[in-house]
Each structure stands twice: as C-alpha cells, then as structure tokens.
C-alpha cells in the first residue's frame, strides 16, 4: 500500500477533529532565543558552518530588510507582527548529521509516519524521494544515492552549500533577489535550511522529488529556501507538502523558492499547503508569506506551478514565472480554500520577455465561513515579447453569506502582437446541484465535496496522482462545517 493512501486513511480517521496534523512532537531541540539582530544571522550561519560569502550575503539581506516595511497592499487584515518575538532557528538536537535513517530520532520518524510521509523503506514503495524539513532543518533525504547515480543532486540546502558551493553561489538569489520584497529579504537573512536539487543536462528525473515541511516548535518561524535547477533538456517534478501543529499563537512562515529552467528544460512544481489554519474563531494559525518564482532562462523551457492551498490563517503567495527564453511556457494552476476566519491573497505573475512565450493561469477560489479569498495576478507583456499569449481563467465559489471573494488581475501589455485574455466569474454553489445530489442519497457534506471537487477538477488533474487523491480529501476536510 502506498504511503499516500495511508495519509488519506488518516484523514478519514480524523473524524470531527478537523486538523489531524495538530500534534506536537516532543523532542530535544537546539533553539535560539526569540529575537532578530545581526548576531542571530551570524549564529545561524556559524551553526551551519557556512562559507564567508554566504554570511556576507545574509548580512546584506538583513540590512536591506531593516530598511523595508511589510507590504500592506494585499487584501489581508494582519495584526502587527513582532519580528522580535519569533524564534529564528530551531533544530532537532543531534551531535552530527544523521548518516542513515536508523540514526534519526525515532520520535521524528514517528511524526513523519503520522503525516504519511514515505520516509525509509516506505519511500521505495511510493517511489518518491523525500527531503523532510522539520522546523528549520532538513532531517533526512531519501534516495540520495539512487539519484546521484544519474548525476542528480537532491539534498538539503545546507548540504548543498557544503558540497556544491559553486552551484549554490551561481543560482542563489538569481531569481528572487534578497531585496525583492520584505519577506524575501527576511528569508535571505535567516533561512536555515530547505531543499536543493540540480538535474544535469538531458536527464529526466526518474522519480518525483518531494519535500515535506513541518513547523513543530512553539513560537518558531520557518524560513526555508528551495533552489531547483533543471539544466538543458532536463525534467523534474517536485512536490511540496506542509503542516504544523495546532497552537494558539500565530506562527510565521516565510519561504523563498527559486526555480531555474534552462533551454528545453521542464519543471513541474506542486504544492499542497496544509499549515494549521487557526480555529473557527481565527485564533492561532500560520502566517504564510511565501515568495516563489521561476525563471525560464532558455528557449522552450517550461515551468508549471500547481498549488492546493487549504491551510494557513493568512496566505500571501504569488508563484510567478519569468519567461525569458523564446517559446518558453509558464503555467499556474491553483485551488485556494478559505474557511472560518482564513484569509488568502494569492495568484501569480507571468512576465513575458521572450518571443512566442505562452502562459496559462487557472485559479479556483473557494470561500466559506467568514473566509476572504483574493486572486491577485499580473500578466506583463514586455515590448520584445512578440506573439506572446496568455489565457487566464479565475473562478470563485462562495459558500455562505459571510465570506468574500475578490479578483484583482493586472494586465499590462506593451506589444501589439501579443494576445491576452482574462476571464473571471463568481457564483455560489447552486441550490439545484445540491438538491440533485442530496435527492440521490448523498449527505449535504458529501454533495458539497462532490461539487467543489468538480469545480477544482481542472487544477487537481495537474497534480501527480498521489497528491491529487490527498488534495481531494483535504478539500473535503477543509470545508467541513461550512454548510447547514
């Protein structure tokens, strides 16, 4: 049985306790006291035995960050965040890095088991190589050797800095510069770990690469950094999943993901984000401020983002594509759910630079409870983007009288041969559809789940099979209690 089915069963078993990932793992951690200053940055860098250039890079980002203010343009109500109250480094205690799975804290392994992560032997069955990031540190990477045989590098960010500094130095910050925005600057200063993957020219990565993020320690922020490079003609599909324990206070998550696709390369990046959303009254939950961007550097490169956003109290996230190479392709498929007091301001940015570049945006927003769901997207056609094409479709589904759905697309075209189309709709779940389903014996919740899954189908079909099943179940769980 695959590990993912395991997950599904766990979800089903979750019963009325909606957030099944709300457990806290009691393990020894190395933790920095809350607060942020240059010493914090130096400490993180020293702990990880980083080279001088990286420390310099972090400090530069930190100084940039000090002069920046948090963005307030999103349709989000955010209580002021005290950046000094967060813990910027929390690592499971270990004398030295684990050499094999056996050396990993059994408590940790149990946590991943609860999450349904195919670590260890189970990984082979699922055929997924996993890098698991626990709080701030990457704890294990499976299948490293199998991948290495093909020249693929897949490791934690820390390992990459040690073992492949030339690659890291070349690409780090090349897509998302540290000063890009407030949160990317913060991340650049204090990121503690994350995943790194490099697919050499002409290699098709034989398995899905995957990272599982989990925030465990209280009051801690997670600032991971992912860097993915697909060299000429390479292909990789990457999965990312996130959870956090149930806590009353808000926790901060500010990640940066950078993708680089060279000529003829293709990167498929899928996310199922299920951070703790807070309770029905809006207490607690993760603040998810993420900068994700991919660059299609060479001709015919392709980057596809697929995301299912069901968690987090606040989501601020715009996975984007910079389409530099001729004929390069950017895709964005998104499902975002807000229930109870959740707020999401999410979308994408497609920047067409090269000739014949194409992009597709499909966004499905679902609002229930008192949730506020905003699609914010930008399509930019620069003067050189001859014959560029964009198609955007963005639909909102409203469930209940107290939620909100908003669409704010920006279209900026500077080339007459480019064609840009945008379409958006908003409507409620039709009474007729609900009646039809219920008349045929479905419960109200099953009927809603069926309709919502149908509404999201275009996006879910873009997910790798195992993830799609999990995502469907997540949708149902997220919407529990939103009708009737």
């Amino acid at each position: 049985m695959s590990a993912t089915l395991d997950t599904v069963e766990t979800i089903l078993a979750a019963g009325e306790d909606n957030y099944k990932y709300g457990f806290v793992t009691d393990i020894d951690v190395d933790e920095l006291p809350p607060g942020l200053n240059e010493d914090t940055v130096r400490f993180i860098s020293a702990t990880k035995a980083e080279p001088a250039w990286l420390l310099e890079w972090r400090l530069k980002a930190f100084r940039r960050w000090q002069g920046m203010t948090a963005p307030d343009w999103a349709k989000l109500k955010i209580a002021p965040i005290d950046y000094q109250a967060s813990t910027y480094y929390s690592a499971p205690k270990a004398a030295s890095g684990p050499k094999s799975l056996d050396e990993i804290d059994p408590e940790l392994l149990k946590t991943y088991e609860k999450l349904g992560i195919p670590l260890g032997e189970r990984a082979a069955l699922a055929g997924i190589a996993v890098d698991a990031v626990f709080d701030s540190v990457s704890v294990a990477t499976t299948f490293k050797d199998t991948l290495a045989a093909q020249g693929i590098i897949f490791c934690s960010f820390g390992d990459a800095v040690r073992e492949h500094p030339e690659l890291v130095q070349k690409y780090l910050g090349s897509v998302v510069p540290p000063g890009d925005n407030f949160f990317s600057a913060l991340n650049s200063a204090v990121f503690s770990d994350g995943s790194f993957a490099y697919i050499p020219p002409g290699i098709r990565c034989p398995m899905e690469l995957s990272t599982y993020f989990r925030i465990n320690a209280a009051k801690s922020g997670q600032f991971e950094r992912t860097l993915l490079i697909a060299d000429k003609g390479a292909y990789v599909s990457y999965l990312e999943g996130c959870t956090a324990p149930q806590r009353d206070e808000n926790q901060l998550h500010a990640a940066v993901v950078e993708l680089v696709a060279q000529e003829d390369a293709e990167i498929k990046y899928s996310t199922v984000q299920n951070w703790y959303p807070g309770d029905a009254e809006g207490k607690g939950g993760i603040y998810n401020f993420v900068t994700k961007r991919g660059a299609c550097r060479g001709a015919n490169a392709k980057i596809a983002w697929t995301q299912v956003e069901t968690g987090s109290a606040i989501t601020w996230k715009y996975p984007s594509c910079i389409l530099e190479g001729e004929n390069s392709v950017g895709e964005f498929y998104s499902v975002a759910i807000t229930n109870h007091m959740q707020q999401a301001d999410t979308g994408t940015k497609m920047i067409h630079i090269g000739r014949n570049t194409r992009s597709t945006i499909i966004s499905k927003g679902i609002s229930a409870g008192r949730g506020q769901n905003t699609y914010r997207g930008a399509v930019k056609i620069l003067p050189g983007a001859e014959n560029a094409r964009n198609y955007t479709q963005c639909d909102s589904l409203l469930i209940g009288k107290t939620c909100g759905a908003h669409a704010i697309p920006y279209i900026d075209s500077r080339n007459p041969s480019a064609r840009v189309e945008h379409e958006a709709t908003a409507s409620k779940v039709s009474d007729e559809q609900m009646f039809y389903c219920q008349q045929r014996g479905l419960t109200q919740e099953d009927a809603l789940s069926l309709i919502v899954n149908g509404f999201c189908k275009e996006v879910l079909k873009e997910l790798p099979m195992e993830f799609a099943v999990e995502a469907q179940k997540l949708l149902a769980v997220s919407l529990e209690g939103s009708v009737g």
């Binding site: 343009w73 469930i399 909100g404 900026d412 007459p416 189309e421 945008h422 379409e423 409620k428």
Partner: protein, 434 residues
C-alpha cells in the same frame, strides 16, 4: 494643525480670491471644507493605487488656477458650435469654460416640472435644486479633484425633472474649454418615474484643464440615457468624475466616448441603492500620439436584485497608453446581483501600451458576477479575408477597427439621432488613422 501640501497653495489663493459672500451659507461652508480637504490631500501620486497609471506631472509641475472671471473669455466661434450640435429638436446649452453662452444656447418649451439651465442661474433662481444635488451625492470623499471642484466651481449645468415628467427631445450641453482651467459642476436630478436623454459634448482648443464633477440622482423608476462625447484639444487635460445614485428600479444607461485630450480620465462611480436598479456603461477610448486615457468605473451593488453591465473598448495607436481600472463591489446582503464587466483593447502598433485591471470584490454569495479583459491586435485572417476580396489593407484595417468600436455606439439606448452623431465622430477619427 493639518499639513497643507505645498503644491496646493496656488489653488488656495484662487479659492480665497473667489470667495463670494452672496452665496448661500450652506454652499460656502461646503466650499471651505472642500478646499481644506484638497489642501490636505494634495494631488494624487503614483503611489496611490487608483492613480498609479496616471501621469499627472504636467498638472503638478505648473499650477493651473482658474481664470477669473471666467466670463472674460471670448465666446466660442458660432460656426464651430453649429457644426458640432445635434440635428433636430434639441434643448441646448453652450458653456464656455463652464460659463453659459446665452446667444448660442437655445431652449424649447419645457414641460411644467422641468428645469434646465446653468449652475449660475440655478444658484440665483433655484438654490433648492442645487442644494438637493449636493445632498444626494457623496461629499468629495477621498478624491482631491472632486474636492477642488467643489471649492472652485462657478459654472456647469443643472437638469431637474419633477416626478413623472419626461421629455422626448434630448438635452444637449456643449462644453467648450480653452487654455484656461475650468471646474464645471453638473447635476442631473430625475424624480420618480421621470425620464430624459442627455448628450454632453466636450470640445475646445489649447492646453487647458477641465476638472468636471457630474452628479446623477435617479429616483424610483427614473430612466436616464446619458451620452458623453469628449473631443477636446490634443493638448488638454480632462479629468471627469460622474457620481450616480440609483433608487429602486431606476435605470441609467451611460455611453462615454473619449477621442481627445492628452490626458483624460473618466471616474464613473455608480451606487445601486434601490432594488432592481440597472446600470449600463458602454465606453470607448480612441487614442493616438502621446495620449493617455483612463476609464475607472466603480459599480457598487448595495442592495439585492440589481444588475450592471459594462463594456469598455479601447483602440490604441501612436505611442498612446490606455488604462482600464474597473471595479464591481457587491456589498454584504446584495444577493441576486447580476454584474458583468468587459474590457477589450486593440493595440494598433508597437510603442502602444495598455494596463487593465478589472476587479471583483464580492461579499455576498448568491450572485452572478463576471469580468473579462482582452488585449490584442487585429485578426490577421480577417484582414486577409477582406484583402482577398479586393479591399486594400488600410481600408480593411479601418473597417475592422470600426466594427470593433461600433458595438459601443450601437448598444446605446439614446436614440438614432445621437447614435448617428457618434458614428460620424468615430468615422472622422478612423479616417485620420495612419
């Protein structure tokens, strides 16, 4: 103590110089509040989301306080007015930099309960109507240009129809603006069940600045066809705000065509305040040279059962820049809302640009809302089709652009005479296409 923005000083001085103690107290109080608000707000900058695409550099660089007295300007050329006016039976008012030109205006017998004239006249003879126009529309809000208009306006027009009054001939207002700055205040007040057609034509010469505020108040079941044709000089600045409030089952059909002005902006704010109210906007911007035009309709559905349709098209040539910032806002409880918004743009050549941002803000669930936006050039196969049938490339292009734009005019419910009038202007513009 509030901080006064330095760029507003010349306008404060103009306000001080123009204070008229014979005006009713309520108006003087409002003017004083408005100028204070303007002095605090100052000119919007590109940091303001609503103004980020609008280049106001010329206004902020060289202040343009209004000419005093406005009546000292020479009358517009009678021949020009003759060539611009609508054919047939029309009730006409010609305004020169917002002051009425009696010799060129012509009335027809108005039915009882109808009042149509200049703002100056309304202030003298019917201040109650003017007061009503102010009472039903928002104060300047957060909008510096509306505040400035409120502080400085001396002219404009007012049309008021009592309940049940309807008038078959169109009311035509020709606004002529020259080098000066002018701040006309206009109002259209229709009582319960009243109906009217209003055609406004803005024209002029020189590098003037026209800062217009128009209040539209429609009573229960009232019907208004409102057409605005803007063909100001290619050096002018034209900033217009229309604020409309619709009572139950009222219907507002608005057509706005912008051909002129170097910089123009149409802020059209519509509040659907009564159930079953209906709003239609057909808009078009036709740009060339260095022109920059913004359409910013903001439609607010406050109550259940209202519908709104917006179709705004842009044809952009030369080095011009078109902007569409549309919003549909559905307030909590405004169920059974049916709202649609479409923006289509044709970019004719390299060097043109368009920014479009159709926005939905929905806080009710039983709604049908949609928006769409497209940007592109002419369909090559359509061009080929026409050329294959012996039509030369330039003519084929004009035909296709004309067809693209004609929709907006054809959809207007303002009557055949006005539609033909608009079509004529569109053809003239098409003929001048390179």
């Amino acid at each position: 103590m509030t901080i006064v923005k330095s760029e507003t000083t010349p306008y404060l001085a103009a306000y001080q110089a123009a204070i008229d103690t014979t005006e009713p107290t309520w108006l003087r109080v409002r003017r004083a509040a408005a100028i204070e608000q303007f002095s605090v707000l100052g000119f919007p900058t590109r940091r303001d989301e609503a103004w980020r695409f609008t280049n106001l550099r010329r206004l902020t660089k060289a202040p343009m306080p209004p000419a005093h007295p406005a009546t000292s300007l020479p009358d517009p050329d009678a021949g020009v007015i003759e060539s611009l006016r609508l054919a047939g039976r029309v009730c006409r008012l010609v305004l020169n930099n917002s002051a009425v030109v009696a010799a060129q205006s012509s009335g027809v017998d108005l039915p009882a309960g109808a009042w149509f004239g200049s703002i100056a006249e309304a202030l003298e003879t019917r201040p109650d109507l003017l007061k009503a126009a102010f009472a039903t529309t928002d104060p300047a809000g957060n909008q510096p240009f509306a505040a400035l208009n409120e502080a400085l306006f001396t002219g404009g027009f007012l049309l008021a129809l009592a309940p049940g009054v309807s008038f078959d001939a169109p009311f035509e207002i020709i606004h002529v603006n020259t080098d000066a700055a002018s701040h006309p205040r206009c109002a259209i007040l229709l009582g319960e069940g009243a109906s009217a057609t209003v055609m406004e034509h803005f024209t002029g010469s020189g590098a003037g600045w026209n800062n217009i505020v128009t209040c539209v108040d429609l009573g229960v079941g009232a019907k208004l066809h409102h057409v605005k044709l803007q063909t100001e000089s290619p050096a002018a600045i034209h900033l217009a705000q229309t604020r409309a409030t619709l009572a139950q089952a009222a219907s507002y059909d608005s057509t706005v065509l912008s051909f002129g002005a170097l910089l123009s902006r149409e802020d059209i704010q519509v509040v659907l305040a009564g159930e079953m109210a209906d709003f239609t906007l057909n808009g078009g911007y036709f740009l060339g040279g260095q022109q920059e035009a913004t359409f910013a309709p903001f439609v607010e559905h406050r109550v259940p059962g209202c519908s709104s349709r917006q179709l705004v098209k842009g044809v952009i040539g030369g080095q011009a820049h078109g902007v569409f910032l549309g919003t549909i806002a559905v307030r909590p409880g405004a169920d059974q809302t049916d709202a649609r918004q479409t923006n289509r743009n044709l970019l004719l050549n390299a060097g043109t640009s368009v920014d479009t941002k159709p926005e939905l803000e929905i806080l009710a669930d039983d709604v049908k809302c949609s928006h769409g936006a497209t940007v592109g050039d002419l369909d090559d196969s359509a061009l080929f089709y026409l050329q294959a049938r012996g039509i030369d490339a330039a003519t084929a292009r004009r035909m296709l652009i004309g067809g693209f734009a004609a929709d907006i005019i054809d959809a207007s419910g303002a009557g055949e005479t006005i539609r033909q009038h608009l079509h004529r202007h569109l053809s003239v513009w098409l003929e001048h296409l390179p």
